[in-house]
C-alpha cells in the first residue's frame, strides 16, 4: 500500500517538476531574448536571426541610449518621484492604516466605508485636473506626488496587517503603562512592521517608477518629465529621430532605431529590478501576514 502510493506520488512529483520547469522557461525566455537582442546587431534582429544569444555583438545601441540627455533627465526625475513619492505614500498610508486597525478607533466603520467607496466612484479626470490647477500644482512636482498619494487597496492590506500581527494585549498593556496612542505607533507598531513596510515599498515603488499618465497630463516642462514619457516616445511613437548618429542616411537611422528599442527597455527596467531581491527578504513574510485573513 505504501509503495503504491509513493509510485503515484512519484509520477505526480515528476509531472509537477516538469511543469514548473516549463513555466520557468516561459517566463525567462522573453526576458533573455530582450537582453540578447539589445546587444545584437540591429540588422540581424530585424531579420529574425537572433534566437537566444546575441548575434553580432555590439554596444552601439547602448552607447546611443546612454549618450542621450533625455534618458538621463528622465532617470533623474523618475528617481526623485519614486523615492520621494514612496516615502510620502508610506507615511500617509500608515497614518491611515494604524488608526483604522484599532478596534477602539472612534467612527471606525463609517470611515472605512468612506474610504472603500472611493475605490469605485471618483470624480473623473476633469474635476481632478481642475482641482490640481486651482491648487497651483500644475506643472510642478506636487502634481505627481500628491494626487496619487494613497492607494486604497494598499491601505486595506496595511490595515489588515496591523490587525493581525499586533495583538490587542500589547496595546492594553501599553495603555496601562500610560502610553499614548501616538507613542504606541512608533514604540510598538513600527518596529514590528518591517514586513509590511517592505510590501508597501514594493507596491508603491514599482507603481511610481512605471507611472506616466500623471506626467502626461500635468507636466509641461521637459525638465520635469519622468523616464516613462521619453520611453513612450521612443518605443511606441517611433520618435527615435532625436538620437544623434554618425551613420549615413535615413536607412541607417531606422535600423539603429530598432536596436535602440531593446536597449532602452533594458536600461529603463534594470534599476527597478534591483529592488526586487532587496525587498524579497522582507516581502514574502509581509504578504503572508497581511493578506491571509484578507
Amino acid at each position: 500500500m505504501k509503495i503504491r502510493s509513493s509510485k503515484g506520488d512519484r509520477v505526480f512529483e515528476i509531472a509537477v517538476t516538469v511543469t514548473g520547469i516549463l513555466i520557468l522557461i516561459l517566463v525567462l525566455y522573453p526576458l533573455i531574448f530582450v537582453l540578447s537582442a539589445s546587444f545584437s546587431d540591429p540588422d540581424l534582429v530585424l531579420r529574425g536571426e537572433v534566437k537566444l544569444l546575441p548575434k553580432g555583438f555590439t554596444l552601439e545601441p547602448y552607447r546611443l541610449v546612454l549618450e542621450n540627455d533625455d534618458i538621463w533627465l528622465g532617470y533623474r526625475n523618475t528617481l526623485f518621484y519614486t523615492v520621494a513619492g514612496t516615502i510620502l505614500n508610506i507615511l500617509l498610508t500608515v497614518l491611515a492604516a494604524y488608526p483604522l486597525s484599532r478596534k477602539d478607533m472612534p467612527w471606525r466603520r463609517p470611515f472605512l466605508l468612506i474610504i472603500i467607496f472611493t475605490m469605485y466612484f471618483n470624480g473623473g479626470l476633469i474635476p481632478t485636473y481642475l482641482l490640481v490647477r486651482d491648487l497651483g500644482m500644475y506643472n510642478t512636482v506636487w502634481a505627481i506626488l500628491v494626487p496619487g498619494a494613497i492607494t486604497t487597496y494598499n491601505l486595506l492590506v496595511a490595515k489588515t496587517f496591523f490587525e493581525n500581527s499586533i495583538p490587542q494585549e500589547m496595546y492594553e498593556s501599553a495603555m496601562l503603562d500610560g502610553c499614548s496612542n501616538i507613542r504606541m505607533l512608533y514604540k510598538i507598531v513600527l518596529p514590528l512592521s518591517s514586513a509590511i513596510i517592505a510590501v508597501l515599498v514594493l507596491y508603491y515603488g514599482v507603481a511610481n517608477w512605471n507611472s506616466y499618465f500623471s506626467a502626461l497630463i500635468y507636466l509641461q516642462d521637459k525638465e520635469l518629465y519622468p523616464l516613462q514619457i521619453f520611453l513612450r516616445d521612443i518605443l511606441l511613437l517611433n520618435q527615435t529621430e532625436q538620437m544623434g548618429s554618425n551613420s549615413v542616411g535615413m536607412g541607417d537611422k531606422i535600423k539603429m532605431a530598432e536596436g535602440i528599442k531593446y536597449s532602452v527597455i533594458v536600461v529603463s527596467s534594470v534599476p527597478i529590478l534591483i529592488l526586487y531581491p532587496l525587498a524579497q527578504k522582507y516581502f514574502v513574510k509581509g504578504v503572508m501576514i497581511g493578506a491571509v485573513k484578507g
Binding site: L24, F111, L131, L185
Partner: protein, 304 residues
C-alpha cells in the same frame, strides 16, 4: 442605544489622538477623492469652461442618451465585459494553480527559483510590455519565429481583432502570475502541517491532499480577493488597451475606458465622457454589492 453612546464617548476620550493621526490622510481623501466627485454633475450639464461647473446649463440625460444611441454602444459594452470576464476567468485562477504547483515541488531550490523568476516581469512597465508585444509580433519577431519552427506562416498578432483579447490577457498573466501567486504561497505556508500528516496516515494521494486540505484552507483568501476583483470588472486597465489599439483590432480592443479617454480628453467632449464614466462606475458598484451579498449568503465571508 445608551450603551452605544457611552462606548463612543469613551472611545473618543481615550483615543482622540488616533483621530488626530487619521485626520491628515482623511483630509487627503476629502480633497482629492470627494471634492472632485462634485464635478461629476457635468455629466448632466453642457459644460462651458467660461461658465464653470456651476454656471453650465443642465441638460439632464442628453449625454447618456447619446451614448446609448451610438452605433458602437453595444460593441463597447460587450468588449469591456468580454475582456474583463476573460481576464477574470484566466487571470484569477492561474496564480492559485501556480501557487499550488510551487507548493508541491519536491526540490526546495527549484521552488525558490520558480518563485523568484516568475515575479520578475511584474516590475516591467506597461509601456515596455506593449512594446515587447509589438516587437514580437513582427514578421521576424519572436512569436513568429516560434511559429516558423512549427512550419506556420507568420501572423501579425497586433493587427488582428481576434488576437487582441488573448494577447492582452495572456501577457497580463505572464506579467502578474508570479507576483499574484505570492499571496497564495504565503497562505499555503500557513496551513498547519499536522493536517497533512493526518491525511498521509489516511493514505491520501497528493491530488487528494490538494483538493481537500490546501484549497479549503486558502479559500477565504481566494474569496476576498475575488470580490475585490469583481468590483473592478468594468474598470479594466485603460492604459494597456489604449497602447495596444489600432484601426484593425478596434472591434475588440475599444473598451469603455479608452472610449472615454479618446472622446472626453483628447477631443474635449467633457460632459459626454463624464456621463459615460458615471455609467461605468455605477455598473461597477452594483456588481460589487451583488458579489459581496452573494458571498455573504453562500460562503459566509464578505468584505464588510
Amino acid at each position: 442605544m445608551k450603551k452605544k453612546k457611552i462606548i463612543l464617548s469613551r472611545k473618543l476620550r481615550y483615543n482622540y489622538d488616533l483621530l488626530l493621526l487619521f485626520l491628515i490622510p482623511l483630509a487627503w481623501y476629502i480633497l482629492f477623492k470627494y471634492i472632485p466627485i462634485y464635478g461629476i454633475q457635468i455629466a448632466f450639464k453642457r459644460f462651458n469652461p467660461n461658465l464653470g461647473v456651476i454656471g453650465s446649463p443642465w441638460v439632464g440625460l442628453t449625454y447618456f442618451k447619446q451614448f446609448f444611441d451610438s452605433y458602437y454602444f453595444s460593441q463597447l459594452i460587450s468588449n469591456t465585459i468580454w475582456l474583463s470576464l476573460f481576464q477574470l476567468a484566466v487571470g484569477f485562477p492561474i496564480p492559485i494553480v501556480l501557487a499550488l504547483l510551487i507548493n508541491e515541488i519536491p526540490s526546495r531550490r527549484l521552488q525558490k527559483t520558480i518563485q523568484n523568476v516568475t515575479y520578475m516581469p511584474y516590475f516591467l512597465s506597461v509601456v515596455v510590455i506593449v512594446s515587447m508585444l509589438s516587437l514580437f509580433s513582427r514578421d521576424t519577431g519572436l512569436f513568429n519565429q516560434i511559429r516558423a519552427l512549427f512550419g506556420a506562416e507568420p501572423v501579425d498578432f497586433m493587427s488582428k481583432a481576434g488576437y487582441f483579447r488573448p494577447l492582452y490577457v495572456f501577457s497580463n498573466v505572464w506579467q502578474n502570475m508570479g507576483f499574484n501567486a505570492i499571496i497564495y504561497i504565503a497562505a499555503l505556508a500557513a496551513v498547519d502541517p499536522a493536517l497533512y500528516e493526518a491525511a498521509i496516515i489516511d493514505g491520501a494521494s497528493r491530488m487528494k491532499k490538494i483538493i481537500h486540505i490546501s484549497l479549503p484552507c486558502i479559500l477565504p483568501t481566494i474569496i476576498v480577493l475575488f470580490i475585490l476583483r469583481i468590483g473592478s470588472i468594468m474598470e479594466i486597465g485603460f492604459e494597456k488597451a489604449y497602447l495596444m489599439q489600432n484601426t484593425i483590432n478596434a472591434e475588440t480592443s475599444e473598451i469603455i475606458s479608452t472610449f472615454i479617454y479618446k472622446n472626453g480628453i483628447q477631443k474635449g467632449q467633457f460632459s459626454y465622457s463624464a456621463a459615460v464614466g458615471l455609467f461605468n462606475s455605477g455598473i461597477n458598484f452594483l456588481l460589487l454589492i451583488g458579489a459581496n451579498f452573494a458571498s455573504r449568503k453562500i460562503a459566509k465571508t464578505s468584505l464588510w
